[in-house]
């Protein structure tokens, strides 16, 4: 059963602009998918439809075989607890420390406090922020804030991770770090969908690519060379090389 399935999904906004136009696709368990296309092609619309932040004008969206149209408003929070989301603008809670931002995701699901105390530092160590536990978001760089947001999205180990332009506000070297992190999450078995208009990065990474134009899917390639045995380090090395960024973070 695919983790995500779109069946002839259209989204026409109230003003008449087209978000998505009869898009159909399936994304299997453990896949890493790029959603690409120029600004305004419908990438964010697709992501927001998957979290039921928007409802489609036509067609069906299935997550793990469950039609989102059948999910009642009271069950939407349950759906979202199984989907990690990462945004271009991080969407952290400004009044909370790094620790509390990540902890909130666990408090929402009623996780016992002892588990929270164990899991939050663990995941923050994984994203490389163990020294910034008690900083507030505005005391962090963009890349660090995005790491917090990824930690928050992943701390529950959701089966599906969605990222909307996760590197859109970041410089190339920081972007690589973020993509590397997302890649590592994918390698734990989590299905990942990343919306981005950074075509260069996408082409170099050689993952499945779904391209949108004016809301329509115009390309869907399993862009070859999926390397199941590649380690995160190998992946990072390849990415650096192909994006023209040196190992110390200086452009070649």
């Amino acid at each position: 059963m695919p983790v995500v399935e779109l069946r002839e999904v259209s989204k026409i906004y109230d003003g008449g602009s087209v978000g998505l136009d009869r898009a159909s696709t399936r994304i299997g368990r453990g896949e890493f998918v790029f959603l690409v296309g120029p600004t305004g092609c419908g990438k964010s619309t697709a992501i927001r439809l998957l979290t039921k932040e928007l409802d489609p004008s036509a067609g069906d969206i299935l997550i793990a075989g469950k039609k989102l149209g059948d999910v009642s408003p009271s069950k939407v929070p349950l759906l979202r607890r199984n989907i990690g989301t990462v945004f271009q603008d991080y969407k952290l809670l400004p009044n909370r420390t790094v620790y509390d931002n990540v902890a909130y995701s666990l408090q929402v699901i009623g996780e016992p406090r002892t588990d929270i105390r164990r899991k939050v530092p663990d995941i923050l160590r994984l994203v490389g922020l163990s020294t910034k536990l008690h900083n507030f978001p505005d005391e962090l760089s963009g890349g660090e804030q995005q790491r917090v947001s990824i930690a928050r999205a992943f701390v529950n180990h959701p089966p599906l991770l969605l990222a909307d332009e996760p590197t859109g506000n970041l410089d190339p070297e920081t972007s690589i770090g973020i993509m590397q992190l997302i890649y590592r999450i994918n390698r734990t078995g989590t299905t990942v969908v990343v919306a981005t208009h950074d075509n260069e990065m996408v082409d170099k990474m050689r993952r499945r690519v779904i391209e949108l134009r004016e809301g329509r899917i115009v390309r869907d390639e399993l862009s070859g060379l999926y390397r199941p045995d590649e380690s995160t380090t190998e992946f990072a090395v390849r990415l650096r090389g192909e994006l023209g960024v040196g190992p110390e973070g200086h452009p070649n």
Partner: protein, 301 residues
């Protein structure tokens, strides 16, 4: 989730948004103060208006020479008439004494002229509803085909009330009542609107936060509880401050003047303890309900 978590969240919200929270608190305090002063005034005014309305009476004059049996029959008949609250018998002599008391000058020179007491024995009838006093007259002395009033019992000489006075009293007091009721309604509405609006502003500043909470899978009540607790706290603190100020004002300015201050001594004014209790409850209710209602808009993500 335990209550402790929501309480901590509320405290965090208040301390991190102290400016709007303080604004909401002061708004609650000021409106409660205004209401606390205004409610007793409205009540005293209405009470006074009601007292004045109680002066509307019907006089049933008893025919000279009617028998004791006829008088008893008349009294019973009056007591049985609809809208009659009480009946009082005023004898000729009592009537004269009262008249003399009211206007001693007129009696000084004219007493001899009058000769014997010209006043009749009278049943003074107080209506339940002064507005419907005409009905009592119609029952005791219905109009015949020519519009002349005919007494319905042998003992009745005449039935009348001071029609002009009655009309004036009724129209003036009902105007006072309508005005104060309208003013009270307006004030309460303005208070609720003001408090709700300040609360709105304080939540509005955090609408992005609420959206993020929804996106990470928080249920509506998970998000709402801390805000409601904040509202309860703000309402309580604002209410307590207002009550403190009201108490101080009452004890320093009003209590010493009480005997000289007819308005405050008026009957039917709300008990001070009840007043502050009500104010405090209203503050808490409006403030927390305001929080919860404002949130509704941002929870629809």
């Amino acid at each position: 989730m335990p209550f402790g978590f929501f309480l901590k969240e509320a405290i965090r919200g208040l301390s991190r948004n102290s400016a709007p929270a303080l604004a909401a608190l002061l708004t609650v305090m000021l409106t409660a103060l205004v209401l606390g002063v205004f409610i007793p005034i409205v009540q005293a005014t209405t009470g006074t208006a009601n007292e004045v309305r109680d002066r509307v009476v019907v006089n049933v004059y008893v025919k000279d020479g009617s028998t004791e049996a006829e008088r008893t029959e008349l009294r019973t008949a009056i007591e049985r008439t609809a809208n009659v609250k009480s009946v009082e018998f005023i004898s000729k002599d009592e009537g004269l004494a009262t008249a003399r008391e009211k206007n001693p000058a007129a009696f000084e020179e004219g007493a001899e002229l009058l000769g014997e007491n010209p006043l009749p024995d009278t049943f003074r009838v107080v209506p339940d509803d002064p507005g419907e006093v005409a009905g009592i007259i119609d029952r005791l002395a219905p109009k015949d085909a020519d519009g002349v009033r005919v007494p319905s019992l042998a003992a009745i000489d005449e039935v009348r009330n001071k029609e002009e006075d009655t009309a004036k009293i009724l129209s003036a007091t009902s105007l006072v009542k309508i005005l104060t009721a309208g003013l009270a309604a307006l004030l309460i509405f303005a208070s609720v609107a003001l408090v709700a609006n300040t609360t709105r502003l304080s939540i509005f500043a955090r609408r992005r936060e609420v959206e993020v909470m929804k996106l990470v899978g928080a249920t509506n009540w998970f998000i709402r509880w801390p805000f409601v607790i904040e509202g309860v706290f703000v309402g309580f603190m604002g209410g307590v401050l207002a009550v403190l100020l009201l108490t101080i004002a009452k004890e320093t300015f009003i209590d010493p003047l009480e005997d000289r201050f007819a308005l405050l001594a008026a009957p039917e004014t709300i008990d001070f303890g009840l007043l502050i209790g009500l104010l405090l409850l209203a503050c808490i209710a409006v403030s927390s309900a305001g929080s919860a209602l404002t949130l509704r808009r941002f929870l629809r993500v």
